[in-house]
């Protein structure tokens, strides 16, 4: 299959996520369970033959959410709830998991629990102090409880072999996506940022075994793929969740390419693998504590250091970015709390930054001029020498 064909399939899954999930249930007879954040331990869900799907917004004004979440809650969380209230998930979602996410997603979950008919709810207590060794011990216990709950739900015991295959499916997916990202280091990447990120969205929505298959084919195709476009300025995009394809396409149509990201709908989701060890649950626990943290969980044990910042800088260097666009869902506290520090940190390391605040729908006109100007700023030499 042609690379573009594969990438189109990713886009289709993202666009038609509900149809895909319904079809998957028909095909496999398995359960589909939604997650509201990337701290849901999907390894165990795969071990239980459950398809985990990330709840995403629909990029339409979340008018149904207003009676349940007033205006100060982030547009993404309100959009997610709105999708639920619209009944988009009614005829297939078997359960919903909250993994101690930010207060905004907790709001959406709380209202969903009451107003969106869903057979099963689970509150997974992902610890916040991920840099404390104590968190790993605690999380192991939490995983054991979660495993039990899943066994009760499916009526099937989860064996070590099941967990191993769950870990393997996830790790393979992580490894393959990382290999695809590798291609973005090239001078003229054979895959656009929009395509690459859509690939990640798809992996949060489709059966990773199928996703892995497509990734393997993609990896064969990419070496020979030539894109009929200028790479232009190499940009990094940073933020919480972002599946705003319209925005990514706009930026990549005006002389720039996103070569890397730090998003929980991007690299932050899959960058690190589970390091297998005899105690499987402990191995998974270690992974979720050691992975690149959400700003919400990123603080030092003896000082005010952050773990995520040097990681972002390393990515920026490895992928040779010329500038970074910091996006933020309006009202997103976890990121708002980091952005002033992150901007200083990157600019001190000679990476120009530009900040954009996102709503459910992006005012493309307004954003275009800002991004164009940012690109011109980076390319100043072209205008002045």
């Amino acid at each position: 299959m042609e690379a573009s064909e594969i990438l189109k399939q990713f886009n289709d899954v993202w666009q038609l996520r509900h149809e895909y999930a319904k079809d998957w249930k028909k095909r496999t007879g398995g359960k589909v369970i939604g997650g509201m954040c990337t701290y849901v331990p999907e390894e165990l869900l795969y071990a239980a033959n459950i398809l985990p799907v990330r709840i995403l917004g629909g990029h339409e004004p979340p008018t149904l959410a207003t009676p349940h979440m007033f205006d100060m809650w982030c547009p993404f969380s309100r959009d997610c709830l709105s999708q639920g209230l619209k009944g988009k998930y009614n005829d297939y979602l078997d359960g919903l998991i909250e993994s101690n996410a930010c207060l905004h997603m907790r709001q959406a979950f709380g209202a969903w629990e009451i107003h969106v008919p869903t057979p099963w709810f689970y509150w997974f207590v992902m610890p916040n102090a991920v840099r404390s060794p104590r968190a790993k011990t605690f999380l192991r216990g939490e995983l054991a409880a979660f495993k039990e709950a899943l066994e009760k739900l499916t009526g099937k015991t989860i064996t070590d072999e099941d967990i191993d295959s769950g870990i393997d499916i996830l790790n393979t997916n992580r490894r393959l996506m990382k290999q695809v990202y590798e291609f973005r280091k090239q001078d003229n990447p054979p895959i656009t940022g929009t395509e690459a990120m859509t690939m990640v969205w798809a992996s949060q929505l489709m059966d990773k075994r199928e996703h892995n298959e497509l990734l393997r084919q993609l990896l064969e195709e990419l070496p020979d793929r030539k894109l009929d476009r200028e790479t232009g300025v190499r940009l990094m995009i940073i933020g919480s969740e972002d599946d705003d394809r319209e925005f990514l396409e706009m930026v990549e149509s005006i002389g720039a390419t996103f070569v890397i990201d730090d998003h929980c709908t991007g690299s932050r989701y899959f960058w690190d693998e589970v390091v297998p060890e005899k105690d499987r649950l402990q191995a998974i626990a270690n992974h979720y504590c050691d992975r690149v943290p959400c700003p919400n969980k990123d603080w030092g044990m003896e000082d005010c250091s952050r773990k995520r910042f040097p990681h972002i800088l390393q990515l920026a260097r490895d992928f040779r970015v010329q500038g970074a666009i910091l996006t933020q869902q309006k009202f997103c506290d976890p990121h708002e709390l980091d952005i002033p520090s992150l901007t200083r940190y990157l600019e001190d390391n000679d990476i120009p930054c530009y900040f954009l605040e996102f709503e459910v729908t992006v005012p493309v006109g307004q954003f275009r001029v800002r991004v164009e100007a940012f690109i011109e700023q980076i390319l100043a030499e072209e205008l002045f020498v």
């Binding site: 120009p352 100007a373 011109e376 700023q377 205008l383 002045f384």
Partner: protein
């Protein structure tokens, strides 16, 4: 259009000017910069990097039309025509819809470059108050953008806001500045951040019989304050200049200077020259100037080739 019937207090008068001392036929490069903003449009024509002609007009429903309108108005009193242009750059909101332009550059880059041309190379911070946005720009001695910020989501404190206000109290926008100082003591600023709710607040004050000039003052300081918030985020560095329509409103400028503790730069070498020519100095053409200057530089550096038709 809707207000067609009444007097339009919110409109700056349309202006145009041609430099009598320049014989464009002797010029090597004739470049134009056309800034089609969301509210007003300017055309600037330069001969070898010297200001030759400009116009400042209102943007209409259709931007290609507006672009032609302002270019024609600039050349009204000259025998120079669009066909004589070597290179034309479009900027501003409608930059991609400027039919006679060979290239488009954003108003951010153009305003920084224009300010550098108009106010000299020591300019480090440029504040452009446009119709619907307000940009704070940090630039280097070449007028290259180092960093910039724009107001987000809410248009509180934009030129448009000021227009709505002028229209509301029925005071011509060009009188606002002066009137804002004809007061006994500085009143507290209008508190509402929303242009529409500010309107409500103003009506309230008028009803309570607060003198018009006090309200004007209150609105000017509110607007100055909003701009300061943006400048604070960017971090202001002197020399500091303001371009765009609001620069003509001393009511805002003086209050902004006071709050920021800076003084906006007086025009450098350029000013006397223009005054001698009896030129009503037009701060709104900074974007157009920047565009035209970019054009000239590109031709000189052979980065662009002449598109002259006649």
């Amino acid at each position: 259009m809707v207000e067609a019937k009444k007097v339009e207090f919110w409109r700056w008068p349309e202006t145009s000017w041609v430099n009598p001392d320049i014989d464009w036929k002797k010029g090597k490069f004739i470049t134009a910069g056309i800034d089609v903003g969301s509210v007003s449009s300017q055309a600037v024509v330069m001969v070898d990097g010297e200001l030759y002609a400009y116009s400042n007009t209102r943007t209409g429903y259709d931007s290609p039309e507006s672009a032609w309108k302002c270019l024609n108005m600039a050349l009204e009193k000259s025998d120079l025509t669009a066909d004589n242009l070597d290179y034309c750059i479009g900027t501003g909101y409608g930059r991609v819809n400027v039919p006679m332009a060979q290239r488009a550059i954003t108003e951010i880059a153009c305003h920084a470059r224009g300010a550098n041309f108009m106010y000299g190379p020591e300019v480090r911070t440029v504040m452009d108050m446009g119709g619907q946005d307000c940009k704070a720009i940090r630039c280097d001695n070449r007028g290259a953008v180092m960093k910039f910020m724009m107001n987000d989501k809410c248009a509180a404190g934009t030129g448009r806001g000021m227009e709505v206000f002028a229209d509301l109290i029925g005071v011509p926008v060009w009188e606002i500045g002066e009137r804002s100082f004809q007061i006994e003591k500085e009143p507290p600023m209008i508190s509402s951040t929303c242009a529409v709710f500010a309107k409500t607040e103003v009506v309230g004050l008028l009803q309570e019989g607060v003198p018009e000039n006090d309200i004007i003052a209150a609105y000017c300081s509110a607007m100055a304050h909003r701009i300061c918030e943006l400048l604070n985020r960017l971090g202001i560095e002197e020399k500091f200049v303001i371009t765009g329509g609001i620069a003509k409103n001393i009511g805002v400028v003086k209050r902004l200077e006071k709050e920021m503790g800076v003084t906006t730069v007086e025009l450098t070498w350029y000013a006397p020259k223009m005054r001698d020519k009896g030129l009503p100095f037009e701060t709104q053409i900074a974007g157009g100037i920047g565009a035209a200057v970019f054009g000239a530089a590109m031709l000189e550096r052979g980065k662009a080739k002449s598109a002259r038709k006649a």
